[in-house]
Symmetry: C3
Amino acid sequence: MAYQDTLRFDTRGRDTRNITPEVSDIVRASGVACGLVNICVQHTSASLIVTENADPDVRRDLETLFARLAPDGDPAYRHDLEGDDDMAAHARSVLTETSLTLPVTDGRLRLGTWQGVFLWEHRSHAQQRQVVVTVIG
Amino acid sequence: MAYQDTLRFDTRGRDTRNITPEVSDIVRASGVACGLVNICVQHTSASLIVTENADPDVRRDLETLFARLAPDGDPAYRHDLEGDDDMAAHARSVLTETSLTLPVTDGRLRLGTWQGVFLWEHRSHAQQRQVVVTVIG
Amino acid sequence: MAYQDTLRFDTRGRDTRNITPEVSDIVRASGVACGLVNICVQHTSASLIVTENADPDVRRDLETLFARLAPDGDPAYRHDLEGDDDMAAHARSVLTETSLTLPVTDGRLRLGTWQGVFLWEHRSHAQQRQVVVTVIG
């Protein structure tokens, strides 16, 4: 059996948001006891990561590192129609995850103590983002 | 139920190819209405990404960026038996995806409007590549 | 049907370990003939990759490259409570995979000839790591 629902988030520009509670709610609603949950962002300039849920400096440092790996406004980019953050956002998406698949155990999302699922907005300005969540068991 | 098929692609050296149509065909053939599709490349020097399907400059810029992140012929590499692109190809594979899992809704691959699934050949020369597609619901 | 088991590994500091045999054993034990296996590390400073299983220099070169992409002890990091390798480990985890989903065919993990699944410890010191394996078919 598969159970599917769609989450919608209004982002406020480049930032990470812990969406573990919303994903966990769908896992519980699915009634699946043992299986997998897939989380898939339907955009190419936002992405998903699993990272530490305690110290927000981890995500601040990730912003610092990714600004080096895929800088905004790089003169080498040809794709810049929507601004300096346009191609950088696609590159950050490719370097992280469009889609995550995680275990479900005893009817709950199974993560380690320090793990959280984060939606990472890579565009500078506010966006509406859809995330499809599928639970299978 | 699980449905599985294998796609074969002849690549022409380093390049991206939109394989969304081939994956979508297998999803339809599976008869799965709601579930997940997994796409898995069976090689360590080619990989998969989800990225923008409209402007080809996005993928050209990704080549530019990845040539910086994992340069060909870096003097630090020890693994260079098959040429300057050998280790760079493995590194690009690790920085992207060997395997993608995406939602199936109403019997179809569920992607955002601007999303496509691309096979990314990282070797300089033509290769034969196998991609296993599994649909589960 | 879903079958789930947990693997435990004692790592000896930053290194890669081929866990393909352990994952393959769980796939066989599951009795699933055709489907998917998900492998999920329950930590944010270790990760999973699929890469070449033959020449160990590939993984040595990956260490070299990732030491550039996410250097230890970078002065820009704010998150350094647990040492120079702390934030670098989180970044390496985000650049690779917390979770992998791979095909199962004829009751076996389906990988290409040269592919192996590796647990990558990113911390400098020995750690205990849990990996949840879920087989679905």
